[in-house]
Each structure stands twice: as C-alpha cells, then as structure tokens.
Symmetry: C3
Subunit: 319 residues, 3 copies
C-alpha cells in the first residue's frame, strides 16, 4: 500500500479486515517494523479517537510519532497555486508538505470539509495538495469527503458481530444534529459497504442525498421505518445537505433512533463513529445497551490504523 | 494499587515514600515494566510540573505516553446524565472515558475545581464520572478537591529533610493571592499529613477554613505567628473560601511569609507546590534561600508519579 | 559542548559541519546515546521545522522528548527580578527554568524577539534568564537575536552544494514582507558566514542595517543588483529595522528575488529558512526551480540538531 485515502487504495477489503483481526490477537507481533522511522500526524481539526488510536497503532509497530496541531502550533497555510502571499497565510501547503516529508516516513493528515465551498470540498483541495507535494506516503485521518480509517474499523467491527447463518443487513441512517456536519463518515461507510456482499441500505430524509459518486449502487430508502426492517446493524450519522451545500434543511419527522424503532430489526447492533450527540441522534437507552458497538468501533480504530501503517511500512521496505 | 485519587488508595504512606526514595536511587531499574503499554494523560487545565514529571516517570518505566489537551485538541464534554445534547457540548464524558480506555492501560486526568458550584466540586463530579466510565485504572493529576501526586512528592521531600532527633513540626500556612484558587493542594497535604506521626498545624485567617472532611483531626491555629513557632517545615498555599464558596474574603493581616516570620521557627524549610506568586505568597528572600525545598519538591514529582504508575502496572500484572 | 546559543559555542564550524554530514550518512549510528535521557522542548512561539526536526533528531539518538507549548499548556511567565507578582503572570521564569531542569537532561527553548523593546531583545532577556536559572544545558530553538540551528543547517547545505574550483560567493539579501520580522535569521547567518572563508556579502535597503555586533567584518552592499553579481548562493530573508526598532521603513525599489535578477549570478542556488511568503519575498519561479535549496535546508535541520544534541550528550558523559 502506497497511500490510504479511500477504499480504492485497498486491494481487497475482506483480506485487510481479516489481517486486522489477526493483528488484534497479537498487536505487538511486529514491534520492530517501524524502528527508527517516524509517523507525522498533522491535525487541522480536533481529534480524540484518531489522535489516540493512531499513536497507539504506531507504538505497537515501534514507529515514532510526532504530532503537529498545525493551526495552533505552527503557521496558517496558503492553498492557492501562484498566490501572492501578502495576506494572513504564512506558509504555502506546498512548502509545509515538502518540509514535513523531510522528517517523516509516513504522514497522516486531518482536514475536514469547510462546508462553505462545495467545489473545494468535493475536489479534496487541501488533501490533494498536501498529498501532491508530500514526498512520502500520506494517509487520511479524515478528509473533506472520506474517513477511511473509521470505515475500516467499522468493517472490522461488523465482521466481529456477524449474525449466524444470515446475510447481514446493514442500514446507514441519517440522524438529527444541531449543526451542519460534513459528509465524510457517511460517504466513506457507503463506499466500504459497497465493496461488501452485505445487504446495504441508506435511509435519510429527502433532500439529504449524499454525493452520488459515493452512493452509486447503494439502495436508498426515505422511510426510516421501512429501512430498519430486519436490520442487523444500524449505523447512525448526521450529515448536512449536499445539494444545498452545507445547509440544514428542515426535517419534519423524528429521525432520532430509539428502542421502539429497533423492534422491527433483527435485534440490530447500534453503530456510531463518535462523538455522538446523545438523545439527539440516538437515545441513551440504545447507546448504553448491549446492542451498542460504539466502544468496540473505537477500539478497532487502533487495529485499522495499525494494519494500514504496517502495509505501508512493508510496501516501503520492498521498494 | 488499582486507582490513585487520594491518600485512601495507599495502603501505607510510609512504605510508599520509602519505595519512592529507593526508586529515586535507580530510576531506570524497572525500565521494561511498561513495555507495550500506554499511559494517557488528559488535561482539562494547564499543567507544567504534572505534565512533565508524569511523562518523565512513564519514560523511566518504558511506558508510552499519549497526551490529550482535551479542550484544545478534542471536544468539549457533557457531564449530565441523560442530557439532551443539543447545545455546546460535543461529547459525553461517558463516551470519552470509555473510548480513552480503549487506547490506554492507565489514564491520568486533571480537572480543577470550577469554584462556582460547591456541590459539583465537592462531589468531584468530573473526576468521579470519568473514573466511573473508564474501564482502566485512573490516576488523579489534580482533581477538584485533591492533588495526591503533589502530596506524595511533598511527603518524599519532607522525609529527605527530617530534622535530627526531633519530631518534625509541619505547618500548612494559608498565603495571599490575587485571585480565588481551589483547595486541592491544601486539602490533600492535610490528608497526607494526617496519616503521618508528624506534629501538623494548619494556620489560616478566620473564614478560610478548609473542608472539614479533609482537616478532621488536624490542629488549626488562626495566629500565623503562633503556628510558626518551632516549625521545621512551612508549606505555603493559597486557597479561597470554602464556606462562602470560591470567594476571597478580605484578610486584614499580612500573611505573606517573610524571613522575619521565620525567626521563631526551627530554621524552617519552605515548601510550595508551584507556581508561586513571588512577593505575594512568599518573599523572594525565602524562595531563593537555602531553606527553600521548592525545586526538590518539583523533582520528587517524578518519583511520586513513577512509584504510583509502577504499583498500578504491577497490580495489573498480577491480575 | 555545554550550550548552543550562537556560533561562539562552536569550537570549529568546519569540523561540526563535517561531523553532521557524516552523521547524515548514518543517522541511527548513535541510537543508544540518549537512552534514559530526556530532551525538553519549550515553545513560547509557533514552530514547524524546529519542532519536527529536533524531535526527529532526538529520536535518532534514542533520546526521549517532552514538548511544552508554554503559553498554551502551562502558565504565563514573569521575567522581572524581584517582581511583586500580583498581576497576570503566574510563574517566574526562574522557577520554570529550575523546575524544567528537574525533568530534562537538555532543554531547548524558542523565544522570539518581541520587537517592541530593543534593549530587552538585544540583551536576550528571556533566553538569558532561562539559561541562567536552568541547571542543565540549554539550546536555542531561535532566540530574540539568533537562530543557530538554522544557520548550522544552512552551512551544511552550502557545503553539500559548493561550486567546483571556485571560492563560493554567498549573498544574504533582504527580502520584502508584509509585517515586521525579527532579525534572528539574518544576524545568525551573518555570524556563521563570518566564520567561513567564503566571499560573503549582505545586501539590503539603506536604513535596514543589521546590528553591527553581528555584521562586523561583513561586506554590505546597498545595490541588490551589484551584490548578486557572480553569486553562488543567494539567501533571502526579511527583517525589520534595527535602528528604528521593529519598524518597517518604506522601501522604494523592488527587492523580491526573480529569475531575471539571477542572470548575473553564477546560476545561484536559492536559500530561505521558511516559512516563505511566495511571490512577495521570492517568486514561485525560483522557489520551485532546481536552484532552490529550501527543502534540503529543512532536511538538514535534523542533522544540525542531532550533531548538537550528540555533542552535548557526549560532553555530559565525559563530565
């Protein structure tokens, strides 16, 4: 593996999930692989799970980590090619990416969607520029449109909880929130589910369609109740409008997931990438129930990051 | 040891101090104990000594450390059980504690008193919730009411400076400050001194009584001059009113410690947990004198943290 | 080496550069030298290159690193001796330096010029006080007047790019900027060049003279065009007025370096410490050309830091 930006960088999702599960059995088995090498983690946005799990993964591989909170600790970045930098930005992303590559063998970067400029977000302007100018492998710690480490952890978690003798039905359900959120987790989960042979359904209010470049082939059902029937896994996630970009259309029905809504499911497991707005997106009764897989998902973030870092290190070694 | 929140989590203070002193002689003697394990340090407030000394202690044990400045780097936390999270808090402490436990073998957390809600501070709302939901051992890096790593370092420092052939007299003296401060250091030092067989006296202006749940059994003397007589150690620390919670009553007399006030002591050693407001709490003449133990206290923070981490790691190993 | 504040702390620049180049061939050759030891990196200002390269250097030496963003994570410092600390500063630099020395074997500190008080900056008030009160070796991560790790990296880079059979001509050229900047990089590069046997010329608009204590002996040429003739290296850097301290005098001519200006040079290499204001200080056409050494300079920051840390560790070992 030379990069990790989306599911398209994975040769075979099933095999990667299986390898992650093996590694989870013995996390320190390749504790020397990263010796003398450095992972740079660059955050343009807040992070708890990604920050912690990726550091933990690196430690398990004997890889040194240097964290950079780019906006707080370093300099604000210019993204325009050819810009006359006579304003507030202090360093061009071209220089930052090139320079960070001098100190790191792998760089992870987090750069959320700004939700104000659809074209910039959709084209992954920040991530693409960073990767273009970096001279070492880059992995996404969540970009404007995708969150592949989360999706890989989600796939690992589903694999650990497969129903017996049944093709699993996985539902991605839009959930209410109080402010407009990016589409990355929804897009990304859809992408990875499209690679599986699970029965996958997305449910969301009309007007809240995800970008079709990620949903292609996925079933979409606007009635949450109908979508939930016989579900084995329900993944809750809010996102803002893609069509009316970054806006929050008024949603009439109550989309919060509650125990009542679970009655028609196959005693479905509840998934969320966290942080979750409790009793807004999902009720406490579900999040605190045995059906919730949320902490197992968080736990699997370590092994998702670790298998990706391992693949990149091994691929570099061969090169 | 399964947790470290207060002196009550210590089986025998004398033995723990003695073990810390032995470890100080050879800090790298158990450099493999933490191998492959991770300490998470979560700061909801500023920190210099605790941040540095605990990382140093972890390094001495071969334990990896991941630092999280929770408010700056991650998400603001919700503390209310059952809250409908439709406001500014982004992640419930329940989820944060559970998630951090997925990546860490031990978690240290710093959460100062807010000094606005007496009941919340006194009940250790934040610390208790965090510990309740964490699934790994938690240690206090200073909570609303106590600062046990500081007190353990203070006990180590006193042990290293015991007067010869004399039962030591230790005085905890309230000191002036320009803004209301928490009671944690005062409460905690009192708790640990109450476990010793030293002659221990607290002196403070009337109206500035500490919480009796911590002072119980300790001598209180409102005349600083009288309290200082024949003292071997004077520990200076400001705290705000506990009765009129978080307020600063007008204090008429000058409580700043000066060389003149030391004349009736037994050439007392000067202690302070730092940071210290020089020439407000204590005069430069004392802080810069040979009597000051302030840097030795800071140094012993490493061994206090290290012996606690060691005990928890060893206790986990047995489990 | 016992400290690293300026070129004056280096016995022989040529030898140090040569040793750094050897170490670059085999960066992990002394991977055990720092075992069990701790480097503290204290930032009072932003940092990317210094932050990353010094951590990388420490890792290469097996040295643990603890980073402290002093203003964000700890307490604001008091610098006045004898101050009655009844205002906004919370901890005296005396105490901070002494305390940090309890946890670290070497401390690096970054403290930029404030550009408002010439005397304070020129006397290196902050750095001097920190070093005075620290009880372990201190290295500069850029102080008010000097940036020696940058200059050492610059010397390494020049050595790697020497013209054949020609005494190299090195030009330090003032470059335009949109806000007043410190003099540290300009002063420091001048200091190190004055130790070399290169042909060294400084060019800047009249009124923008650097402090003569650093320029002494260096040629100064106010016509950029004339200075550039036959140059092998052109180092671009902005600084504000030293005479009219911290101000930006109006500069009539266009001092931005462009390809046209390079025509009279000996196909000069372009150097800049970064971050660079593209198309203000230097044009993209040069920064993105093969003549640019900017990323090589950034890369050599690691080996500059590593050879300095190595010298200090070795010197401590002997002691």
């Amino acid at each position: 593996m030379k990069r990790f930006f989306s599911v398209e960088d994975v040769e075979n999702v099933d095999v990667l999930v299986e390898e992650a599960l093996q590694l989870k059995q013995n996390p320190l088995s390749k504790n020397d692989l990263g010796k003398g090498k450095t992972l740079g983690l660059v955050f343009l946005n807040s992070s708890l799970r990604t920050r912690m799990s990726t550091q933990k993964a690196a430690q398990n591989l004997g890889l040194n980590t240097i964290v950079l909170n780019a906006n707080q600790e370093a300099w604000s970045w210019e993204f325009e090619d050819g810009a006359i930098m006579n304003n507030t930005t202090v360093e061009h992303i071209k220089d930052a990416a090139n320079v960070l590559s001098q100190y790191c063998d792998i760089i992870g970067i987090r750069c959320f969607a700004g939700l104000t400029n659809k074209e910039e977000d959709t084209s992954e302007k920040v991530y693409s520029l960073f990767e273009k100018f970096a001279t070492v492998p880059v992995i996404s710690l969540e970009s404007a449109t995708l969150h592949p480490l989360q999706s890989l952890a989600d796939c690992i978690t589903i694999k650990e909880n497969l129903p017996v003798n049944k093709k699993p039905k996985v539902v991605l359900s839009w959930a209410p929130h109080i402010k407009p959120l990016p589409h990355a987790v929804g897009n990304s989960f859809t992408q990875w589910m499209n690679q599986s042979d699970y029965d996958f359904v997305i449910t969301h209010p009309e007007g809240l369609e995800l970008d079709t470049q990620f949903t292609q082939g996925a079933s979409i059902e606007h009635y949450q109740e109908k979508a939930l029937e016989n579900a084995d896994f329900v993944y809750l996630k809010n996102w803002s409008s893609f069509r009316d970009y970054g806006k929050m259309p008024i949603v009439e029905n109550d989309w919060m997931l509650t125990p009542e809504k679970l009655l028609t499911t196959n005693n479905a497991k509840i998934m969320h990438c966290l942080p979750v707005r409790r009793n807004v997106e999902v009720s406490d009764a579900l999040l605190d129930s045995e059906n919730a897989l949320i902490y197992q998902q968080a736990n699997n973030r370590t092994y998702a990051a670790q298998i990706v870092l391992q693949k990149i290190l091994e691929s570099n070694e061969k090169a």
